[in-house]
Symmetry: C2
Subunit: 204 residues, 2 copies
């Protein structure tokens, strides 16, 4: 039997009105590349009520434990940066030593985005840009906080910068597919070995 | 010699104009409770330039590796949610099995904050609040994303909700001190044992 590596599908799409459909499309793309996608939106929690947050958390952590790697949608969510839940999950999978692949559907650097969206100023005394609270804005050309980007780059798979139309920022899966391609490259040795075995099995 | 457990001091204060001073105050509070605070702002990186993001990342990860636990400032940062770098680091320390304590200097629930700050609507067909992108807003009474809050609660130390004046949101350390108190409780068995040993040492 061919083993299909499992991919945890992280991102703010779980909040989308079409979360189920987006998850199905992601899982289909995974299957097409020899993977099994684990979608947090599939967790069967029952009617939402008090304490359900803990049940959802446990279901997600079970999937993370089961996953062989993760694909993270770090597209800006309700502000200039990624969804904090997704950032947390990236930290968990990374610390567990599992390969992490990520994309952002907004390729604009963080500083440029903040200059466009928020009230910022250049602090000449410190030669740096600051926001309305006087907090320094990172200027490394990254699309988001350096901890997220550097962790991915150090693993060998820098964040995929994808640009799509604003209305499709939570439904466009071009960046997701690019991450899948990285996952295929990462697991290729395993997949090649299994394919050879499967071909031999089929021919006898 | 008394061993002082090390606390990784995570939060967006590293971007503050008074980052050094805030860090010193945090480390003093840690020392007063028998801990050693590890402040990411102390990393000696040299003049910022190309590639410095990777050096800062590595310095932070070294501190995280060295730490026995972490205190995380999850106060909303440039939007309705916590700093994504801090959320990532929470995930890392948590996955490494290290006790995590966290506070937010904005005690307002996420939904109430979004209703105040952003364009939201009630989706009667699905009985839930949605943002301008039609993305569902969590309604569990948490101050932020459920993954952050539930991970803390499941460890036994729910997030400390602290309310301070808006201007002090990145300098007020009342919530930080409350987290330190939780850390003292967590490590109390160890500290008591060491104190007894130290007293015996001093009397002979």
């Amino acid at each position: 039997m061919r083993i299909r590596p499992k991919i945890y599908l992280a991102g703010p799409e779980v909040f989308h009105a079409d979360a189920g459909d987006i998850g199905r499309r992601k899982k289909d793309l995974c299957a097409g590349c020899g993977f099994e996608g684990l979608d947090p939106a599939d967790a069967e929690i029952g009617p939402l009520g008090e304490g359900c947050d803990r049940l959802i958390y446990r279901a997600n952590m079970r999937m993370i434990g089961e996953a062989d790697c993760g694909i993270f949608n770090l597209t800006p969510f309700r502000g200039p940066s990624a969804d904090v839940g997704t950032a947390f999950e990236l930290g968990v999978l990374f610390a567990l030593g599992k390969p992490c692949f990520a994309y952002s559907n907004d390729s604009e650097p963080l500083l440029a985005r903040l200059r466009r969206e928020q009230c910022v100023a250049f602090d000449a005394t410190k030669s740096r840009w600051v926001d309305a609270h006087g907090m320094a804005i990172e200027d490394f050309g990254n699309v988001d906080n350096l901890m997220l980007e550097a962790c991915l780059a150090e693993q060998g798979y820098p964040i995929v910068r994808w640009q799509c139309r604003s209305k499709q920022r939570f439904t466009d899966l071009g960046g997701f597919q690019a991450c899948l391609d990285l996952a295929v490259r990462h697991f290729s040795a395993t997949l090649v070995a299994e394919t050879v075995t499967a071909d031999v099995d089929a021919s006898i």
